[in-house]
Subunit: 431 residues, 4 copies
């Protein structure tokens, strides 16, 4: 390994079912793919528990990360030689695209919720810390790893570069919509990316799309909308996630209580003690988590044992719609009934909600500012998408929310406390 | 759960990226899918180490098993009401299709080679033993589980039924070719299955294909041929498999020697002692195996540690063509050189060979008799495929073999024993 | 040919690139396809002048009609045995689906506009008149042809049957969206028809869709929306249509004036005299029209000659956006300038407008009442789609209109009247 | 129009269902597409009478010609900067690809057989004669049109250039296999063109394929083989062609006899008198031919009338296998019987044969020398494909021939001469 980047003598390709081929011409990229931190992404599924709903969706973040890289490569190909595009940013963009998810752990969503961690922090640590990834990146200069981290964290000064990986129409989203549609087998998620890339143009602040590509962008926004409700927020997937979160919570509670595990939660202790090192974090992948869940099916603790069996054998919770009035009226009664029936409501009566904002224009001051999509009009001016598109206007800024209540319907059929269980069923199932 | 099978009130479907939808109308099938033994297939990849070559190929045997079931269902739909087809065999066929791979463990190929076990035995044990699968099957009668096992083992008296799951053009092969092509992204593996199913006909002994479908069958055979050499026998996949086998072998050797592991190979001991119970076997999935490999990266033993690091981080062995003459002349020298260079040839100099017989007509007396494909001619007679098809005739009965030599080229670049390493490189790389 | 319908001894299939196979089991259908009136549809393109914009769209109404039949067949397959579905209507539905476009002539849109004819009238005449189609249909009884015509004309008493071929989600629309997308190559037009068919249910008045299929229906509505603006109303297609209409108009004017044609418009006279017989109409297909256009490239009349050369060699008119204010201010001046420049504005300055209503709920009293799409809710009640779907609600009832002005920009570059032409260009091109 | 070629200010694209987009960057190409000779290809179907067998196959040579151009463009993109590739040949290659079929007339195969003309001659005349195409080409220099013609005629000195458009794996074949498969809807015809293009390399004499792409090439050869027998030589297509040829023959016979036509064969006279001018040839497209066939359905001459009705209404001849022995024994009797039954065997008893050579290596001295496919081996040497590939070897050099006998089975069911007709049926149908 020398200094800097070299062009590979012969271009290398990965066969990819979504983009057909992923092309690598830079030695730096090739070596990043070969690092152990990047290879670890093969052991973290892209869609968490979705495979329990859509059996085809078993693909990993490794898979997706290569796809984002490839889209970025194609965007840049189209930018070459155009105003506002600085060729010196090329490798930075490619690295950020490839590494944008490097910090994801197993079932990130649940882990982050339960352990108050977040994958962005780990992403930065992997990029700037003592890792193989960092070593490879450093060959481009001492500041290069930090720049890559800045792009991913959206603090990099060149906003055009940031927008290519983090905006409402970026390489990340364009890959995952298509990839997740491909693997789940749903018919949504398709849009004419080739056309979008053809009409994408660099501007000072962000990548924009020529007016003639508006319909392709509309189609992309609609794909996004459909994928959210049909795939990402699917209630069965969320049921599995609810169980997973409850397992993590139970383990922590038992650990804190000094419960004596048959299989000690060794890999989790760093989380419990808030002392997790980068090295420990990198060891935590989905095979490790599943190893523990498998083992804990034989624990003494009835709740941990039951939840793990449910997860491993896909005996999920049932769900019903949950409306707000409900909270006021029967929520207290329901919790009481669960307790009386000896089904701990803490673990077995769970409200989960999802909400989506399929497209948003700029609303300054909001918590999570999202860069809107701009069209490049024939007169050279920019115009925010929803002002031109009826369809996008119609759904823009409208948050759609969905509350569901999860519980194990099978436990209501077991012996004992029949009266309470009967009443629970009346409340939950007969409305 | 009552006795027998019931038709579901409303048909259930699984969204499948290959067959679009998988249709379930029988309660029995629905419940088999729900058993923990079947759900376990979600933790066993369909193509073993292939995901290290084709990153898209992360799909599991769960995925494939549903596909085989669906194809079987469609075959039967076309058989209904035709001579030789006994409607009473319907459910038996469907169960056999669904469960034909139920005995597969993690990375079957390597485990079977190293531990002299075979997945067929475990399949039978799961079907007739004390399992949830068995309990569900038994509702069709006490003999039903055994019948399902017989179909899978090809000993069932109705040879037509056997041929639908085990012949050169059966539901199993038709699914995996298409599915593996889909997930790897290669352009082979496509053939007109809809046409083949339309012209498939039951006869006394086997399912045959009407003459008018011959070209679709040719296309299927060619797909098979291409998939074998392009995907299944890909040298990079085999490199990963070589390392995996060597890990298993090393663990066993260390265990036999009384080596003191940091992470005891608890789940493997049944194999070492030839005392593995069904319950233990069912616990052994790919997440468990990867958990150990991950842990063993920190073992004292240099070989185990190195091999595990290679597997986890995809630092595979290089390969060169291996020809027979080689054995006679330089093989001894090479082993000697490896030993002198302190690279144990037992683990680091490995010959691997693959061979394929893309289509075979009946050759009695051979070890593995394979039922040939028969065409139903306009005159009502049967004719073996290769007698009608030039293309099939051309490749039929021709075994193609490929020998490769695997070794860690990086170890030849390290310090020490330069002279030997130089000579090794001359022998291996300069021919 | 006997009385009634017979099931074919062996099912026949047509290979279809959109639906894979089109299945025919009824002798009646098979024979309808074989009639000369149906075969004539091979000489009438599905999308008129669209092939001049999307070169792939060269498919004919023959192609589409088989597709509509096939979708109808699949809808009925799903209806079998369900309440409200009367098996006796099966053949009627299939015939209506197959024949719904039988009355279309070449470039229907332009011919209908210029000659004030309409294809619906011809459809009825072909079905109930003295034709091969009528003879085949009559074998089902003397009233059968009239019933088929009634279904197509939406006057048949069983509204469920009518809705299957004429509603906002019918066999016709579902075929053409997919087929036109396939042949043009655009990425819109895809939706999960298999799912929609699976959840379509007969009710007394119309075919409805189960609530669980709402998202697939949304996707279908959006496809329709995109196809309209991206394909059906494409300004280049309309430019060719403008020229075509002007050719027809010019021929009529010349004919009325007693102009002496080198190539007499023999096949058109019936239109000019309003005396067109069914036999004459059936002779008029697109090859006949193109034969004349080819010949008329050599006529004396400069306008006819020029327009025909434009159409045959695709030298189309340019277009600019046309806004209403324009009419008030510069329209008169523009016409005057054209006249002065000796470019007859009657033929060379044309306003064309398109408008679409992507989805409409029931608005009684409107000219063209359109049956809305209803969802079948879990509680068994029906609910109009736009009340459940945000996306559909957003675009529903909103008419979008587009006016364009077409003119031959090349004629503004020729010698003579430079001043006027300069001014014309200022008005038309510099806004 | 100035001298030479200019790069377009903004790249233009055609949406193409097979290659997604066809990219045009050269003004020269854009203007060639706009010539009337090229636009005329929109009125000549790519697959002649095949649309009567596969209703989807209604695409034209315009469609295909753009596709060949696009593949050529991609091949050249891969050649840029490589040894043996002369950038100065780029535009020549693109023009030759675009124009290689420009001389095709309607139903070329039948016209060429009956009128002893050939489309190659017309291609040259269009390119070097007084046409719009020639005018555009000349802007590259006075010799450029002749060079384009030379490349198409394979006489151009740079054999590499010739091979890119005329060899066993050229832009022409790669387009039509995929395109014809797409439009017919058959599942053959797919191969990994992207991979082939990636590993195609220029050499002094021809374009070759790197060894690593061998399997993709095998797949391509097999596609070709399947398409020939499943699509191109389909007996129903040939039946329509037989009728078409007989119509042309009959018209000529009648014309020579001085028969008085209701619709004079004006456009055909040049063929009859061997005096056809280029201008006349260019007027002859499929709409003109169909115009005549339509009109001739009303001629007095029973044979012409009948044959035209058959073609227009798709009442084709039946076919039976025809074996050589047959000729010796019953051929004379059969002709005699036809004559006695008053069915002129000259028009109604037709032998047609097809034969294909799916792949051929170099066999010097043969009439039509075909350049074999060469692989570029790792050692830098070239090796003829069939020496490396078992599959190709198996089918290489093997001519497969198919003889069929066509006749109108319906005429054997009419009144009169029952005895002879009975005997004819015995001979033709009962073997």
């Amino acid at each position: 390994m020398g200094k800097g980047n070299r062009t590979l003598k012969e271009e290398k390709v990965f066969k990819d079912p979504v983009h057909r081929y992923i092309h690598v011409r830079d030695e730096l990229i090739w070596e990043l793919v070969g690092t152990k931190e990047f290879q670890r992404l093969r052991r973290v599924r892209q869609l968490g528990t979705t495979y329990l709903t859509f059996h085809g969706a078993e693909h990993t973040r490794f898979n997706h990360s290569l796809g984002v890289y490839e889209i970025m490569r194609r965007i840049i190909e189209g930018f070459e030689g155009r105003p506002h595009w600085d060729e010196k940013e090329r490798l930075l963009c490619l690295c950020a695209a490839l590494l944008h998810d490097i910090g994801h752990g197993p079932f990130s969503h649940s882990f982050e919720k339960v352990f108050h961690t977040d994958h962005e922090t780990w992403t930065r640590k992997i990029i700037v810390g003592d890792t193989e990834v960092n070593q490879v990146l450093k060959r481009m200069g001492d500041h290069f790893p930090q720049q890559v981290a800045d792009v991913i964290e959206k603090t990099y000064p060149n906003k055009l570069v940031v927008s290519m990986i983090s905006s409402q129409i970026d390489a990340d989203r364009m890959d995952y919509l298509q990839r997740d549609a491909f693997y789940t087998g749903v018919s949504y998620g398709h849009f004419d990316m080739e056309r979008i890339l053809r009409v994408m143009r660099p501007t000072e602040d962000q990548a924009v799309v020529k007016y003639t590509g508006m319909h392709a962008v509309e189609d992309y926004i609609m794909s996004r909308y459909q994928m959210y409700w049909q795939v990402y927020f699917h209630p069965v997937t969320r049921s599995a996630e609810v169980i997973l979160s409850k397992i993590l919570r139970r383990v922590r509670v038992l650990y804190d209580k000094g419960y004596s595990f048959k299989q000690e939660p060794a890999h989790f202790k760093g989380f419990f003690n808030e002392s997790l090192t980068l090295e420990e974090y990198l060891r935590l992948d989905e095979s490790v988590v599943l190893f523990y869940f498998q083992a804990w099916q034989d624990e003494e603790d009835a709740i941990l044992k039951d939840l793990c069996q449910r997860f491993m054998n896909r005996r999920l919770f049932k769900y019903v719609e949950f409306d707000q009035n409900f909270v006021m009226n029967e929520w207290g009664e329901l919790q009481e009934l669960f307790r009386k029936a000896e089904i701990d409501p803490e673990y077995y009566l769970v409200i989960d909600f999802s909400s989506d904002l399929p497209y948003d224009f700029y609303r300054p001051g909001e918590e999570e500012e999202r860069m809107p999509i701009h069209l490049l009009m024939p007169n050279g001016k920019l115009r925010e998408l929803s002002r031109e598109s009826d369809v996008v206007e119609a759904i823009s800024g409208k948050k759609r929310t969905d509350h569901k209540l999860y519980f194990p319907v099978d436990l209501l059929e077991t012996k004992g406390h029949e009266k309470e269980k009967q009443r629970i069923k009346e409340i939950l199932l007969e409305t």
